[in-house]
Subunit: 192 residues, 2 copies
Amino acid sequence: MKLLQERIRKDGMVKNGNVLKVDSFLNHQMDMDLFNEIGKEFKRIFSDCEINKILTIEASGIGIACIAAQYFKVPVVFAKKAQSINIEGEVYSTKIESFTHRKTYDVIVSKKFLSKEDKVLIIDDFLANGCALAGLVELVRSAGATVEGTGIVIEKGFQNGGDMIRSMGVRLESLAIIESMNGEDGSIIFRD
Amino acid sequence: MKLLQERIRKDGMVKNGNVLKVDSFLNHQMDMDLFNEIGKEFKRIFSDCEINKILTIEASGIGIACIAAQYFKVPVVFAKKAQSINIEGEVYSTKIESFTHRKTYDVIVSKKFLSKEDKVLIIDDFLANGCALAGLVELVRSAGATVEGTGIVIEKGFQNGGDMIRSMGVRLESLAIIESMNGEDGSIIFRD
C-alpha cells in the first residue's frame, strides 16, 4: 500500500534494536484519514471472503479494527490481556509473549463472542515474531471458528512471524512489509 | 441518548456489586453501527467547541474515540497504561486507580502529542468514581492544553465521578446516566 509506505518513510523513525516507531500516526496518536484508507484496503483485499467478525487485540489494534469494520459491516471483538472481574464465566485463553513489553500475557476472549459459525478476520497493527497473531489464530480455532484471514498493517519481513503464520495454513496480508531497516541512517527498504 | 438507553436495557446485564456488563456491544464486542450513532451524538453535543484532538485511554475507550473522531475530523491520542520501551523520551504521566481491575496504573502520554495549542475532547466508555477521567484531565492540563470537554458513554450517576469532574471546572456530557440499578432483578433507572 503505497500511501502507507510513504507515511512510514515520512513519519516513521527507525531506532536501534529493530524498533520502528510509528507512534505519531499508528499506535499512540492515530490518523483517522490513514485508518480509513487502511480499512478500505483490507476490504478490497479480503473482498472474496465471507467475514462476519473482526478480531483484534488490545490496545493498538482496536482503532484500526474498528475503522476497518465499518467497511465490512461487522462487529469487532478485542482480545483482552489478563483477567478482568468484568469478564464473565468462561473464556478462551492463550499465552502471548510481547516483544515490545518483554513479558508474557494471558490473552482472553469471552466464549460468548466466538462460536463455530464465525468467519473471522484478524487485524493487528504489527507483525514481528508472530506470537500475538499466532495466539489469536489459536483462540479462534479453539472456538471452532474459521480464520478467513489475517490483516496486518506493518510486517517486519526480516523476522519470522510471517513464515510462522503462513505455516499454520493461514492467509496473511500485510499492507507494508519491511525487508530491512537501519537504525544508523534511518533507512527503510520495503518488500515489493 | 435514547438509542443507547434502549440498547443498555436490551443487552446490558446488571450484576451484584454495581457492575453493569455491556460487553456484548460496548467494551469487548463492539457494535460499529451504535458507535457511529455515539460519535454523531458527541459531535452534535460539542458542535460549539473548537476541538483539534481527541484523547482517550486504552483499551475500551479507543474504538469509541476513533469512530467519533471521524465526525470531528481530528486525530485520536490514547493514553497508555504503564511504560513501554517504544515510548520515547519524555511523557506526561499520572496515576489512575482502576475500579474494574482493583489496581493502580501509571498512565502516560508522549509529550509529542499534547501541547499548549491543543483543544482536547476526552472520550471514555464509562464514568464511575472518576479516577481515570480526572487523570486524563490532569494530563491535558499538565501539557498546558485545554480540556474543551469530556464525553462519556455511560455514567454511573450514583457514584461520585460526575460531581468530581464538574468540580474541576470541566464540561462533562454523558450519553446515558444510570440513576440506579438493581442486581437482584436486573432493573435500571436512567436519569432524565
